[in-house]
């Protein structure tokens, strides 16, 4: 016994090392199979707490790259989904390319909401295939229409303008009207042309009608905020909360309608025929 204690005293460093090393080896061997690693891993309470809180901060550093990656993915998904969603009639619409709309991505370089007619400048131009009268949306809803194109940039007439209006309709109905801006609040537009016998209430969704051949069908415009019946005619005047926050735009999609020209020419010809 005396000898044993002496031995332990003498070699305590080496013995402790061997003991701890054995514990560590046994942990390694027992947990080598990752499915059974229940104790020593980063999903336990303490380390996941640290990692989660750190990620809250560090996540901001690569938001930009992450955003761009998601946008690219979104574009390819949107382009591929169009092939399926319109499958009933897309062969009639465009037999050559197989699709009617093409989404492109752009970043906003200049923007305003304070004027009567507001323009947004984005960083895609002729060299990227942008042409006049393309639709501009972001992931929330409509933004505007391309009005002027240079080599590297294009100027978008924001939905916040008093010049022209966008064809709109009430979701799940065929009632349509036109959305324009009264230059009062950059978060709201006015929808006219919905007949006052329609069952419509606050919170209803307003979508694009797609009649003008600029915007695709069923793009989000906003939701009904307030509405009142007009005394002069039989239509509602409806204030619509814009889905897209025009004031804080950063990334937008430009949508090209390959059949726009064809539709407009046909409509023009028909008018001439009638005259």
């Amino acid at each position: 016994m005396q000898n044993l204690i002496e031995f332990i005293k003498k070699y305590h460093f080496f013995l402790l090392f061997i003991m701890l090393e054995l514990i560590s080896f046994s942990l390694t061997v027992n947990n080598r199979n990752r499915e059974r690693a229940f104790f020593i891993n980063s999903s336990n309470f303490f380390s996941s707490f640290v990692y989660n809180n750190f990620y809250k901060i560090s996540g901001y550093f690569n938001l930009k790259q992450e955003n761009e990656r998601l946008i690219k993915e979104n574009i390819s998904l949107k382009n591929s989904i169009l092939k399926f969603s319109d499958s009933d009639n897309f062969f009639v619409k465009d037999q050559q390319s197989g699709k009617q709309y093409l989404y492109m991505y752009a970043e906003v370089v200049n923007n305003s909401v304070s004027n009567q007619i507001n323009y947004i400048t984005v960083n895609k131009g002729k060299k990227d295939g942008i042409v006049k009268d393309m639709a501009v949306v972001n992931s929330d809803g409509v933004v505007g229409i391309v009005t002027n194109v240079s080599r590297n940039y294009c100027v978008v007439l924001s939905v916040l303008n008093t010049l022209n209006s966008i064809g709109a309709k009430l979701k799940n109905t065929e009632y349509f009207g036109a959305v324009s801006w009264d230059a009062k609040d950059y978060r709201q537009v006015v929808l006219n042309g919905i007949p006052n016998h329609t069952d419509i209430k606050k919170g209803d969704t307003i979508l694009t009608s797609g009649f003008s051949a600029i915007f695709p069908n069923n793009v989000m415009i906003g939701t009904v905020d307030t509405l009142w019946k007009n005394s002069q005619n039989n239509f509602y005047t409806i204030k619509v909360n814009l889905a897209a926050d025009i004031k804080s735009l950063s990334n937008v999609y430009l949508i090209k309608n390959f059949n726009q020209k064809e539709q407009w020419e046909l409509e023009e010809q028909t008018k001439e025929l009638l005259e």
Partner: protein, 170 residues
């Protein structure tokens, strides 16, 4: 050991582990190498500290880093070996007139080459054990040796740099 010194070492300990898992784990420079700077906590303990305390501390810090890194006790084994080798390396590199009691093995108490040798030799064993156990199932001796050498130098540079940055001459 004084209470103040103990508190200081606890703060070192915690901040080194956090630095390791939150920052230096991602400083791979695209090479797959990682500077394991948390070993500073063991390397820069006072020279005459009880050897068994060093072992216990190595076990704790190794296990903590393992928990964060999902490396099943690899760091624990490696750091224990480092702690075990430490007294021998300290004796091997002792200056002609011996160490001053209570000093840290640092650039200020040793000549630079002694200090660098001290770090590199200990890190070599640390990395050797780590990579041997890590690649254990696929016995590729040349990969183990290569990784050990390269990562030893890589980590040493970081350790010296951090040491010069944060430890004052006393």
């Amino acid at each position: 050991m004084e209470v103040r010194l103990i508190i200081r070492y606890v703060i070192y300990f915690v901040s080194l582990v956090l630095l390791q898992v939150l920052l230096f784990n991602y400083v791979s420079l695209g090479t797959g190498l990682v500077p394991y700077i948390y070993v500073i906590a063991i390397l820069l303990l006072p020279i005459d500290i009880q050897k068994w305390i060093v072992l216990i501390l190595s076990f704790v810090i190794g296990l903590t880093v393992d928990i964060f890194n999902d490396t099943v006790a690899l760091h624990t084994s490696a750091t224990l070996v480092l702690a075990f080798m430490r007294p021998f390396v300290i004796r091997l590199l002792s200056p002609e007139d011996g160490y001053v009691i209570g000093t840290l093995p640092s650039n200020f108490t040793l000549k630079f080459w002694r200090f660098f040798a001290y770090i590199t030799i200990l890190l070599f064993f640390h990395q050797l054990v780590y990579f041997s156990l890590d690649i254990f199932l696929f016995p590729k001796i040349e990969v183990i040796i290569l990784k050990t050498f390269v990562n030893t130098i890589f980590t040493s540079v970081f350790v010296v740099f951090l040491h010069l940055l944060f430890y004052k001459n006393k």
